[in-house]
Point group: C2
DNA sequence: TCTCATTTGTCCGTATGTATA
DNA sequence: ATATACATACGGACAAATGAG
């Protein structure tokens, strides 16, 4: 039986945390390579002379840190040799994907069901021929002093009947779809690129066609990875920037 | 003593999960308003007729979901009445901030210590007059078949002496700074905007000056929020997009 | 397909330490 | 200083999932 390291003073870490440290060290040292199994709970009890309760508390820490995964009946398996999460960007709602989407309102100019043509389909990375409810409009700042971007939203046709009154609603469209359909957006993929402002957006925004513009494509996916909704935003390049802040997210260990 | 709801079949949730559900319902219903204290562990044991172990497992779920916080000696406090829907963008290293920064190499054209002028200072959001090591170059794909972007990196002058051999190094500069100085990047702020390609970058990349380009400004901050390093990348707008994927981060409950 | 040993999951009881009010 | 409340740690028992035979 090994003894867990412990400082002499009264400020030692709890037993289960020292055990977790020891296991992290063993994993980092390659004693338990990624993909291999960790010793069983009972074996760890015997090896370190602690109760199963303590072993389970330690293993829970490793699970929380993404180092191991556990399956009832099968054991614990090492899935990473270093705490995988280094930096995270967390948002509380998809509206914050582009932070200023709060405190803005969408003025809808048009909403109709369309069949995707070649060009439009390619632009949103989806095969042509499918039917979508296409909503176009302009997003304004809350005080309506400034236009934020030109918006085109494609909502999957199966939600179209839920959105017949969309032009009189406010709030994010994806939230409306979620609330009325009961389906949840499980994942969102955002693509930011620079391109020349297209004529339609330039007309709506009163800018020059061809000027540098920020194009933001957001795809809202359900649990199976199929798109529920796709939004294309065109922002005047000289007025808007997309900012994210990532914080280091690991334990001092 | 209340009895936790349980379906008749054999497919009931574990006791501690049902208890967590019950507590979530009570919080959502305003029985335990945000800011108020939850009953103590012992009281919850008595009230629901379960062991303290079970109560603690349930409360741990609520902590993980961000609904309550607990302090030894003080009790449990409600900090939110609805599971804060979080979407997270997780990266394992700052190099993945722009995903293709992996598998690319930076060809350094120039490195010299400079005092920031007005224009440059404004561009990186920092007062003029400060001294920085300015490194310029072009980032190539791994097979050197294509130029990815034009790069200007400003490293705080206190790190300059650690980077005298920077042109012969590869790997991310921020990693070099971290390794040699011992200071850690605690936070990174990235700003993406569209602008006309400036002449210097256009020359280096062989593109047209004034064409739509993606400008990415990354500021690497230390624990006190002071910038350790600032990087400005110019990408040809027609060739590159910045993609992030956010996953829903909550439990099925 | 079925059995069976293994392994983790759940749940109980008890005791003591430590931070808080 | 005392009582309270959460944290840590020991013990035992059975259930459920897994995987091998």
């Amino acid at each position: 039986m090994q003894s867990l390291p412990s400082a002499p003073g009264p400020d030692t870490l709890p037993l289960y945390q020292r055990l977790a440290q020891a296991l992290r060290s063993e994993i980092a040292a390659g004693i338990h390579p990624v993909g291999s199994g960790l010793p069983t709970e009972i074996e760890l009890c015997a090896r370190h002379g602690v109760s199963r309760h303590t072993v389970r508390a330690a293993l829970r820490l490793l699970v929380d840190q993404g180092l191991i995964e556990r399956r009832q009946g099968a054991g614990s398996r090492v899935i990473a040799d270093t705490p995988p999460v280094a930096y995270v960007h967390t948002i509380r709602s998809l509206s914050e994907l582009f932070s200023y989407t709060r405190d803005t309102t969408l003025e809808i100019a048009d909403a109709e069901t369309v069949t995707l043509g070649e060009a439009e389909a390619a632009a949103i990375h989806w095969p042509p021929g499918t039917r979508w409810l296409r909503i176009t409009g302009v997003r304004w700042t809350a005080d309506r002093s400034e236009m934020v971007c030109h918006v085109t939203v494609f909502v999957h046709a199966r939600f179209a009947e839920l959105l017949t009154d969309v032009s009189r609603q406010d709030g994010p469209i994806h939230a409306l779809v979620e609330a009325r359909s009961g389906e949840r957006v499980e994942e969102a993929v955002q693509e930011v690129s620079a391109a020349a402002m297209p004529p339609a957006a330039a007309r709506a925004l009163g800018t020059r066609t061809g000027a540098p513009a920020l194009r933001i494509l957001r795809r809202y996916l359900d649990a199976s990875g199929a798109p529920m909704m796709v939004a294309v935003n065109w922002h005047p390049g000289d007025r808007f920037a997309y900012t994210i802040r990532l914080r280091r997210d690991d334990e001092p260990a």
